[in-house]
Amino acid sequence: MATEILMPALSPTMEEGTLAKWLVKEGDTVKSGDIMAEIETDKATMEFEATDEGVIGKILIAEGTEGVKVNVAIAILVEDGESVDDIAAPAPVAAAPAPAAAAPVTEAPAAPQVDETPDWPEGTKLKQQTVREALRDGMSEEMRANDDVFLMGEEVAEYQGAYKISQGMLDEFGSRRVIDTPITEHGFAGIATGAAFGGLRPIVEFMTFNFAMQAIDHIINSAAKTLYMSGGQMGAPMVFRGPNGAAARVGAQHSQDYAAWYMQVPGLKVAMPYSASDAKGLMKTAIRDDNPVIFLENEILYGQSFDVPDIDDYTVPFGKARIWRTGTDVTIVSFGIGMKYALEAADKLAEDGISAEVIDLRTLRPMDAPAIIKSVMKTNRCVTVEEGWPQGSVGSYISSVIMQEAFDYLDAPVINCTGKDVPMPYAANLERHALITTDEVIAAVKQVTYK
C-alpha cells in the first residue's frame, strides 16, 4: 500500500521548516532508519529517517522549499511493483479540539458551613504535655499500630533525636524502624519516597526544614506529583517533618519559614501545629494520610506545655481550624508559632476593650477558608500573623480569599503581619526586629479597627 511521508515535527514547537535536502531520489529503496532528507528549523538542521520500508514513488516537495508546514505530504512511499497513482487523496490530519477553559470561580455561598465541634468532649481528662512529648507519642502510637510506619533521619536513633523528639523510640522499636541516616538529605528523602512507592509509610525527620532544601526535588517532583503522573496508580504516603522557621540567634541559613513554599504545591498536605494536642493529633492524622504531608514544627515550641486530652487514639482532622478565642471586633488568623503573638495580642487588646477572635489554621493545605470567611463576616476586619517573609506569604493568599469571598463584609483592608523582608540577622537586637512582634500585631489590629 502506498503511504504518504509527511513533513515531520522535529521539536515540540515546530510548525514549519525548510526541506533543505533530499538524500534519496525517486525510485530509491529505503528501509527503516535510512536517512531520507535534511530538514531545517529556526533552531537546527535535522536528519529525517524512514520509518517504513518501501520505494520512493514520488517526491512532492522539492529540496530547498521553505516554510513547509508540518504534516504536509512531502513524498510518497510505495511497495515494490506498486504505482504512485494507487494512493488515495490525502486525508487531512484533524487537529485535536482545544479544551474549553474552566469556568471562572463564581460567587461563594453567603454563609459558609464551618465545622466548629470542639476537639474533645467537655469533661475529658486532660494532662499537661510538651509539644516534644506529644510529637513522640503521636509517632509511637502509630508505629505500634502499623509495622509499615518507620522513622528515618539524622540522629533520630542512637542520639535520641537532635531535638530529642524521638527520645526512647530506638529502644522501643529497634534499629529496623528507627533509622539513623548519614547527612545526606537529598539521598535519604529520595530513598524514603521510593520506600513509600514500595508500600511503606515513612516518617522523614529533617534536622531542620532549612536542610530540606537539599531534598526539595524529591519532596515535590517525586513525592507530591507521582500520584497525578501515574493516573492514580501510586503515590507516596509519608510524612516529612522537623523544625521550621527561626529558632534563636542561628542566622539566615537556619531560620527560614517554609510554610508559604510548601502550601503552594498540589499533591502535598501541610500541617503546622501550635499546641501540643494539635502536634499529637495532627501527627497521627498525617501518618495515616495516604499523601505526602509536610509537618512544620518549631524549635521554640518544643518545650512548651499545653493541655492534651488523655484519651486513646486522639486525632485532629486536616482542614479544620481551631478557634482559640471568640471575639467580635477583629479576626486574627495565624498558625504555628504565629499563634503565640496572636494570642498575646488578643489578651492585651481585650484590656483596651477590643474583642479579637483568634483562629489557628493548624493545616495550611487543606486550609479551612470557610472558618476565616465566617469569622470575617462577623468582625468585618482581619489581621494575619506569620513569621515568614511578606511577598507571596500565607497571609497574602488569605487576603485574596477574603477579598474574593467576603469583599462586601470588609470594613478595612486586611493587614498581613509577617517577618521582615530580610535574611535573618544574627545580632540579638536585629533578630528581634526581623521577627514579627506582639506589638506589631496590636498596632495592625488598631489600624483595621480605626482605634
Binding site: V93, T181, G194, A196, H218, G231
Partner: protein, 329 residues
C-alpha cells in the same frame, strides 16, 4: 576490566533466542512508530527513543523474577515493553489519551504500572536512583526476597544523589541492582567530555559495591551479567552495579540533531554491533529459525505496533474532569 566479548556461540535455546529477538524487535518497531507519530504531531513534548539499547532491558528482564521491581529515567518506553506492559497503553500515553497508562496525564516520561512493578518513568535526571534504592529498602524491610533494577544513564552517573544513594545502599545492604546504561552521550556531551573515569562502575568500589562492565549490544552477555547481579542481591550481599555499554542510534530526544557525533559513527554501530542483528544471526546460523520464521515474527510485531498506534489515535482525549482527579489519594 574490559567489556565482555560478544557471545558468538551460545547454549541459549531456540525458544530463548526467539523470545529475545521478538522482545527487542517489538521495542525497535514501537519506537520507530513513536517517532513517526511524533513527526505527525500526534505525540507532543519530549520523546526520547530507545533504539539501539534494546538488549539492555531485554537481557535484564530475562534475569528477573515475578515481583522484582524496576524504575528508570525518561527514556522509558523500552523498559515498559520489556516488563510486559501493554503496547496499546504505552502508545496511548504518548498521544495523551484516556487509554494511556496514566490516563494521558503523565506522557512519555511519566508512566507507571503497579501490576508490572514498573515504578516510572522519571523526568529529573538521577532522581530515580534513590527512589529505586527506596524500593529495595521496602523489600528488605519486608524481607520478601525481591530485587530492584534501578536504571540510569552515564549522564545521571555524575549527579551527587547517585553517590549519596550508593553510600546508603551499601551501608544498609539494599537488594538494588544499579544499572548504568552507558550510551556514551549525556544528551550532547560525550563521556570523555563529562566523566572523569573511563569505567563508571568502578566508582562503586569506593563504597564497597561490586560491579562490572557488560557488552550492552549482546543480549546474552547482558542476561548473564544480570543473573550474577540478581544472585548477589538475593543472597543478601547488598547492591551490585552493572555498567552496560550501549549505544543510542537516535538523538537524545526528537528535537536533537545529534551533531556531536558523525553519521559514520552511528552507521558503524548499526552495521557491526546491532543487538537485534546479532540474535538474528545466531538464530539463522544455529538453524534455530529460517528467514521465513523471522519474517513471520516481523509481521506479527508490525501488526502489534500498528494496532497500538491505531489504539493510541482512536482512544479519546481524557475527560476534562480528569484535570482535577488523582491529586490526592
Amino acid at each position: 576490566m574490559a567489556a565482555r566479548k560478544t557471545t558468538k556461540q551460545t547454549n541459549a535455546s531456540a525458544e530463548e533466542l526467539k523470545a529475545y529477538y521478538k522482545d527487542m524487535l517489538l521495542i525497535r518497531r514501537f519506537e520507530e512508530k513513536a517517532g513517526q507519530l511524533y513527526g505527525m504531531g500526534l505525540i507532543g513534548g519530549f520523546c526520547h527513543l530507545y533504539i539501539g539499547q534494546e538488549a539492555v532491558v531485554v537481557g535484564l528482564e530475562a534475569a528477573a523474577e515475578e515481583g522484582d521491581k524496576r524504575i528508570t529515567s525518561y527514556r522509558d518506553h523500552g523498559h515498559m515493553l520489556a516488563c510486559g506492559m501493554d503496547p496499546n497503553g504505552v502508545m496511548a500515553e504518548l498521544t495523551g489519551r484516556e487509554g494511556g497508562y496514566s490516563k494521558g496525564k503523565g506522557g512519555s516520561m511519566h508512566m507507571f504500572s503497579k501490576e508490572k512493578h514498573f515504578y516510572g518513568g522519571h523526568g529529573i535526571v538521577a532522581a530515580q536512583v534513590p527512589l529505586g534504592a527506596g524500593l529495595a529498602f521496602a523489600d528488605k524491610y519486608k524481607d520478601n526476597g525481591r530485587v530492584s533494577f534501578t536504571y540510569f544513564g552515564d549522564g545521571a552517573a555524575n549527579q551527587g544523589q547517585v553517590y549519596e544513594t550508593f553510600n546508603m545502599a551499601a551501608l544498609w545492604g539494599l537488594p538494588c541492582i544499579f544499572v548504568i546504561e552507558n550510551n556514551q552521550y549525556a544528551m550532547g556531551t560525550s563521556q570523555q567530555r563529562s566523566t572523569s573515569s573511563a569505567e563508571i562502575y568502578e566508582r562503586g568500589l569506593a563504597f564497597g559495591i561490586k560491579g562490572e562492565a557488560v557488552d550492552g549490544m549482546d543480549v546474552l552477555a547482558v542476561k548473564a551479567a544480570g543473573e550474577t547481579a540478581v544472585a548477589h542481591c538475593r543472597a543478601g550481599k547488598g547492591p551490585y552495579i552493572l555498567e552496560i555499554k550501549t549505544y543510542r542510534y537516535r538523538g537524545h530526544s526528537m528535537s536533537d540533531p545529534a551533531k556531536y557525533r558523525t553519521r559514520e559513527e552511528v552507521q558503524k554501530m548499526r552495521d557491526e554491533r546491532d543487538p537485534i542483528e546479532q540474535v538474528r544471526e545466531l538464530l539463522l546460523t544455529g538453524k534455530h529459525a529460517t528467514e521465513d520464521d523471522l519474517k513471520a515474527i516481523d509481521k506479527d510485531i508490525k501488526a502489534v505496533v500498528n494496532a497500538s498506534a491505531e489504539f493510541a489515535k482512536n482512544s479519546p482525549e481524557p475527560a476534562l474532569e480528569e484535570l482535577w482527579t488523582d491529586i490526592y489519594a
